[in-house]
Every structure is written in structure tokens, then in C-alpha cells.
């Protein structure tokens, strides 16, 4: 046995694994979409048109493509944040709060004298990441030192950050007496330059790509990443082999928090806003759960999933505007996909189906198993 055969075998196994996972994810998406189709069919006056909008509208115009890509960049970042936390086998749900504190920090930088200089973007992004990292650190350290359940504490921190943002915007950041809950537009130097003129595609997309590569490198090519994955795999074993698992957990949650803060800066400094509005995040941060689950917390798979899910998400928004079907139908699709992907639903049906159709029927076999 030489090294090469082993490498070939490993590669083969990996490809088989990727094929299987992709098949499962696609099958889950298909099942969820067919459920959505049935619901639309039962509720809409023009179901085919609504479904057509859902599936084709995002690529219909450059503007909608821009909306889609902007969503993909943001979903990628939140998906990465959840992936890091999930890989360390933590269930911190704090990305939403990190986005708000990150957005606040970026807004303070942008509205300060620094905002009018070329430093606005680097300093704004950096401050947002520090604020978000700190906000991710709190539930981490509370868990490590006190054993406080990180799900509950991170969720509480989300609500606190949201109210804090509402409060600061109303009392400090909005010019007095204006009555709106939106700050003035940031100076042009503080807004991410667009990559494609006239769309929302801005350098946030580059941040997202860099973040994917950085997280992949950190997880799979550094000692820290190896320790993190070991801790996630079996914290006790990691502890026995001399890894201080609490340090790793807290650092993973802090880095994920910094990603959440970056997402906050991408929101308020991006082409989409260029100012701070209350409730600017609109629930997107939580959708990183779906992205991370479907991507199996693998950083390189996250943008692929974000590409698909962002498309669906934009389709639903446009369907909401153009037809009588509300965008909330996407919530049902999301829930079904999470349920199917998180469970081992492919195992019972595959053999039966393979026997009926012969081999190579994996995706449809997976579907059969889910029903």
C-alpha cells in the first residue's frame, strides 16, 4: 500500500460523501419546494404565476441580481459564524445581537469625524468586528466559567442588543426632532464602494469571500482549527489529550462574534443602507442556521448553500411584492429543509428504492425516504 492509493481512496470516499450530502440537500430542497408549491396552489388566485415569480424573478433584472448577490454575501457570513460555533459543538444563537452591536459600532465610526476620511471603512469594519467579538465572548465565557447555558444567554443578548440599538438610534444618532428612526446618510467615504455600478453588489462580497477562505484555513490548516474540531467532536477526549477545551470554545464563539460584527458593518455601511436604521437586520442573521446546517458546518460549502438559499429568499421577497402570496411561505420551506437535512432521513428508503429501480437512484431514493 503506497501513499498514493490511500490518497486516492480518501479522495474517492470524500467525493462519495460530497455527492451523498449534495443529494440529500437537493432532495430536501425539492421536497420543501413541492410543499411550498402545494401551499401556493391552495392559497393563491394565480398559483402558477406566483411560483414562476418565486423561481425566476431574482435573475430577471440586474437590480434583482444585485439584491440576490448582496443577500448571498450576508448569508455566507452568518452561515460561517454559525458553522464555527457548531463545529465547536456549541449552540450559541447570538449572531443577531452581534450584528446589531457591530452595526452600532460601524455607525458611530461613520458618523464621527473619522467617517469623512479614507479610514472610515477599515476602522468601521474593525470596530464592528471588535464589538461583535466582545458580544460573542460574553456567552462563551459565561458558559466556560459558570456553566451558563449558552443558548439562553445568547438569545437574551440578542434582545438586549436590539433594544440598545433602538434606544441609541432614537436618542443619540438621529438628529433631534426629526421623528424618523434612521440616522443621516453616512458620508460617501464610509459607504462600501459598489463593485457593479447601480446594484447592491459592493466590497461586502469581497469580505465574504475572504472570510470563507480565512475560516477554512483556520479550521483545516492551523493547530487551533484542529483543536476546535477535536473539541467539537469529543470534548472529553480533547481534554484528556491536553487541549483546554473551554479556551477553544470561548475563542470559537469570539471569532464567530467578530464575523457577526462584520456582518453588522456590511449591513449599515453597505450599498443597501449607507446609514443605520432600527431593525435593519430583518431576521437575516438567524437564517445562517439553515445555511450552516445544510452546509454541514463546512466553510467551503457555506457560500454554495448561501447562493441557493439567497436565491430562494429573494424569490420569496419578490413574490411577496408582485403576487398575493406572502413572503412568509419561505419560513415553511426553511423549516422543512432544516428538519430534513438535520435528520438522517435518507437511510430507510434508499435500499427499497434501489431495489425497484436498480442502482444510481440516489436523489430520488432520498426523496422516497423522506415521505
Amino acid at each position: 500500500m503506497s501513499m498514493t492509493t490511500e490518497a486516492v481512496l480518501g479522495r474517492k470516499a470524500r467525493w462519495a460523501n460530497i455527492r451523498r450530502e449534495t443529494g440529500r440537500a437537493l432532495a430536501a430542497a425539492l421536497i420543501a419546494l413541492s410543499v411550498a408549491f402545494v401551499i401556493i396552489l391552495l392559497t393563491s388566485k394565480a398559483p402558477l404565476e406566483a411560483f414562476n415569480v418565486l423561481l425566476t424573478a431574482p435573475i430577471s433584472r440586474p437590480r434583482t441580481i444585485g439584491l440576490w448577490i448582496d443577500d448571498v454575501a450576508k448569508l455566507t457570513i452568518t452561515g460561517l459564524a454559525f458553522s464555527l460555533v457548531f463545529q465547536a459543538r456549541q449552540f450559541s444563537m447570538g449572531v443577531q445581537g452581534q450584528v446589531y452591536v457591530g452595526g452600532l459600532a460601524a455607525a458611530y465610526v461613520a458618523l464621527s469625524p473619522i467617517g469623512a476620511t479614507w479610514l472610515a471603512i477599515p476602522v468601521g469594519v474593525l470596530c464592528a468586528m471588535i464589538a461583535g467579538g466582545f458580544y460573542g465572548f460574553i456567552p462563551g465565557i459565561a458558559k466556560a466559567k459558570l456553566g451558563a447555558n449558552e443558548i439562553v444567554s445568547s438569545l437574551m443578548l440578542n434582545y438586549i442588543a436590539l433594544e440598545l440599538c433602538n434606544y441609541l438610534v432614537r436618542t443619540q444618532l438621529v438628529p433631534p426632532g426629526s421623528g424618523v428612526l434612521t440616522t443621516n446618510d453616512f458620508p460617501a467615504t464610509a459607504v462600501f464602494p459598489a463593485l457593479v455600478a447601480g446594484t447592491r453588489i459592493d466590497i461586502g462580497l469581497i469580505f465574504a469571500i475572504v472570510a470563507v477562505l480565512a475560516v477554512w484555513f483556520a479550521l483545516y490548516r492551523t493547530a487551533w482549527g484542529l483543536k476546535l474540531r477535536l473539541v467539537g467532536h469529543n470534548a472529553q477526549f480533547a481534554e484528556y489529550s491536553g487541549i483546554r477545551s473551554t479556551v477553544i470554545m470561548v475563542s470559537a464563539m469570539t471569532v464567530a462574534g467578530a464575523l457577526g460584527g462584520l456582518l453588522g458593518a456590511m449591513f449599515v455601511q453597505g450599498q443597501s443602507f449607507g446609514k443605520l436604521t432600527i431593525l435593519f437586520e430583518g431576521g437575516l442573521a438567524f437564517e445562517g442556521i439553515l445555511v450552516a446546517i445544510v452546509a454541514r458546518s463546512r466553510p467551503l460549502a457555506v457560500p454554495v448553500v448561501a447562493l441557493f438559499y439567497g436565491y430562494l429568499r429573494q424569490g420569496a421577497q419578490l413574490m411577496n411584492i408582485r403576487t398575493d402570496v406572502p413572503a412568509e411561505v419561505i419560513g415553511l420551506v426553511t423549516a422543512i429543509i432544516i428538519l430534513l437535512v438535520a435528520s438522517s432521513f435518507s437511510i430507510p428508503g434508499r435500499k427499497v428504492f434501489a431495489r425497484i429501480l436498480g442502482r444510481n437512484a440516489t436523489p430520488s431514493a432520498v426523496m422516497e425516504g423522506g415521505k
Binding site: 392559497t43 456553566g147 439562553v152 444567554s153 419560513g331 432544516i338 438535520a342
Partner: protein, 316 residues
């Protein structure tokens, strides 16, 4: 300050506290049952929300108690979904729980749109009913304390009394019946009951069903007594606060009652404080329950940690 004291120690404030605590208490009891059986139910929020909407929509067509029963059934159904995906299909229960929450957040708005014919925000144009308050004004004939008794005890939702009874019933069930022992055993160390022939998965399934039913009952109280009608995301984090209250209440029914009352007090304060202190910003008042949960959770975890350390030390 005097005004605050006058308000806090008045009968009206007490009634408000009971009103705000009831949904929380019901959800906390639901969380407790699931937690003791070893299944952390993070879907309380979604179950409450679905309970709210089911109660409101059914109450348009049926008497209030049918609406409440329908809400319980809807919550139990969600519990069954969790049980199916977690126990049968081996999905992670926290992920399944969040899927339920996402489903509930979107699904309730979607269903509301259908039920109201296009209104995405509220059920204001649905003629829904309320849960009646229990009138105990006959206590007023008792000489001396009769008037005070009526002030404090009369006018609570029927479900508040049900919730108080449930605290006792669940305590009795958990600590005085064999099934309660099984349930706690399954949560503590599933391998032992498994070996003793106790159906672990069946017990977890039942706990999740009951958990969902209780959370949805809390939702029914919220949408048919505290407010009459449904608005999108009207639970506003109460399910997650209930999750904190389970841990804060030392995973005991009486503790759950106390924790729910604590949060009820702060929620009631948030209701009365803007009138008394208009210089305190409303955002900060709304923040109070979450800050309290966070602090209480941290302090309680610290105490539990210390207790564990002390036990270990005494063994050495």
C-alpha cells in the same frame, strides 16, 4: 419613589403580575417537563406563538374553551413533530427546535394572511373571543378581609387558576407517582431505565407532547386574555425567557412558579413604569426581563457550579 411603592403594593399591580406571569408559568412548566425528560425544548417560543394563533382563529368559530383545547392540541402536535424528528430520525433536538420556531414565525403570519384575507400584521378584523375571568366577588360577604380578598383574588383568568393547580399537579406527578420517577430517571441517566425495561423514547415523546401543549396553553392565555387577538411575533421572546426560567427555577415546579412570578413582576413593572417615570426610556424598560434572565441565569449557574464543586470536594 413613593409612587412606585404605592403602585407595587396595590391590588391592581398584583392582578397585573398574575396576568403577566400566567403565560410564562405555563410555558415554563412545559419547558420543565421536557427538560427533566432530557430533551431541551428550545421550540417553546414557536409553540406559544402557534398556540396564540390557533386560539384566536378557533375562538372565532367556537366557544373559548374549545379554542383553548385546540391551542393545546396544536402545541402537542408540534411536540410530536419534534419527537418524531429527534427520536425517530435522530436529528439534533436544538436544530429541530429552531426549525419549529422558524416554522411558527413564518407559518403564523402566513396563516393569519389567509384567515384575515390579506392582513399580515394583526387579527384585528377577526371577531375572536376572550377567556373569561373568574368572578369571586361573593367572597366580599366575609367580614373584615372580604373586600381585600375580592380585590386580590377576583378577576384573574381561569387559566391562571389552572396554572396554579398545574404547579401542584406536576409536582405531585413528578415526585409522588411512578411515571414521574420514570420521567426524571430518563432525563437523569437514560441507560438505567432502558435496562429496567422502561420505554425511554415513549416517555420522551409524551414529555414533548405535554411540553408543547403547556406552552401553547400559555400562548392561548396570551392571545385570549392578556391581549385579545393575534399580532405577528406577539410572544416577543417569552418562550426563550421561559427556557431561562426553567434553569432559574432549579428544574422544580415550585421554582418554576417563583421564576415565572419574578419575570411577571418585571414585565408588569415595564407596563406601569412608563406612566410613573417618563424619563426612563421605554427601550430600556423593555430590556429589563432579558437582562434579568441573563443575570439570573449567570448567578444561578454560578451557584450550581459552586454546589457541584463543594460536593466533589467533600467526596475527596
Amino acid at each position: 419613589m413613593i409612587e412606585l411603592f404605592m403602585t407595587v403594593f396595590s391590588a391592581t399591580f398584583f392582578v397585573t403580575v398574575i396576568r403577566t406571569s400566567t403565560p410564562l408559568l405555563l410555558a415554563t412548566l412545559g419547558g420543565l417537563i421536557a427538560d427533566l425528560s432530557g430533551a431541551l425544548n428550545v421550540a417553546l417560543e414557536g409553540m406559544m406563538l402557534v398556540g396564540c394563533l390557533t386560539a384566536v382563529i378557533v375562538s372565532v368559530f367556537a366557544p373559548w374553551y374549545i379554542a383553548v383545547l385546540a391551542a393545546i392540541a396544536a402545541g402537542a402536535l408540534l411536540g410530536a413533530v419534534i419527537a418524531f424528528f429527534h427520536l425517530r430520525l435522530k436529528a439534533d433536538i436544538i436544530l429541530v427546535g429552531f426549525a419549529i420556531n422558524i416554522f411558527a414565525a413564518g407559518g403564523t403570519v402566513f396563516a393569519l394572511t389567509l384567515a384575515t384575507g390579506g392582513d399580515k400584521g394583526t387579527s384585528i378584523n377577526l371577531p375572536s373571543k376572550a377567556i373569561p375571568a373568574l368572578d369571586l366577588s361573593f367572597l366580599g360577604v366575609i367580614p373584615g378581609i372580604g373586600h381585600t380578598l375580592v380585590q386580590f383574588l377576583s378577576g384573574h383568568s381561569i387559566l391562571s387558576w389552572v396554572a396554579a393547580f398545574l404547579v401542584f399537579a406536576i409536582w405531585y406527578f413528578l415526585y409522588r407517582t411512578p411515571w414521574g420517577l420514570w420521567l426524571r430517571g430518563v432525563g437523569e441517566y437514560p441507560a438505567a431505565p432502558e435496562a429496567a425495561g422502561i420505554p425511554v423514547n415513549a416517555i420522551r415523546t409524551w414529555s414533548l407532547l405535554v411540553s408543547g401543549g403547556l406552552a401553547a396553553l400559555g400562548g392561548a392565555q396570551l392571545a385570549m386574555f392578556n391581549y385579545v387577538g393575534f399580532t405577528r411575533d406577539m410572544t416577543a421572546g417569552r418562550g426563550f425567557i421561559a427556557l431561562g426560567a426553567v434553569l432559574l427555577g432549579a428544574r422544580h415546579p415550585v421554582g418554576a412558579l417563583l421564576a415565572a412570578l419574578l419575570f411577571g413582576v418585571f414585565e408588569a413593572l415595564a407596563v406601569v413604569m412608563p406612566g410613573l417615570f417618563n424619563w426612563i426610556p421605554p427601550e430600556l424598560i423593555r430590556m429589563i426581563p432579558f437582562v434579568i434572565t441573563l443575570l439570573a441565569l449567570t448567578l444561578f449557574s454560578y451557584r450550581a457550579l459552586r454546589a457541584r464543586q463543594l460536593r466533589t470536594l467533600s467526596k475527596i
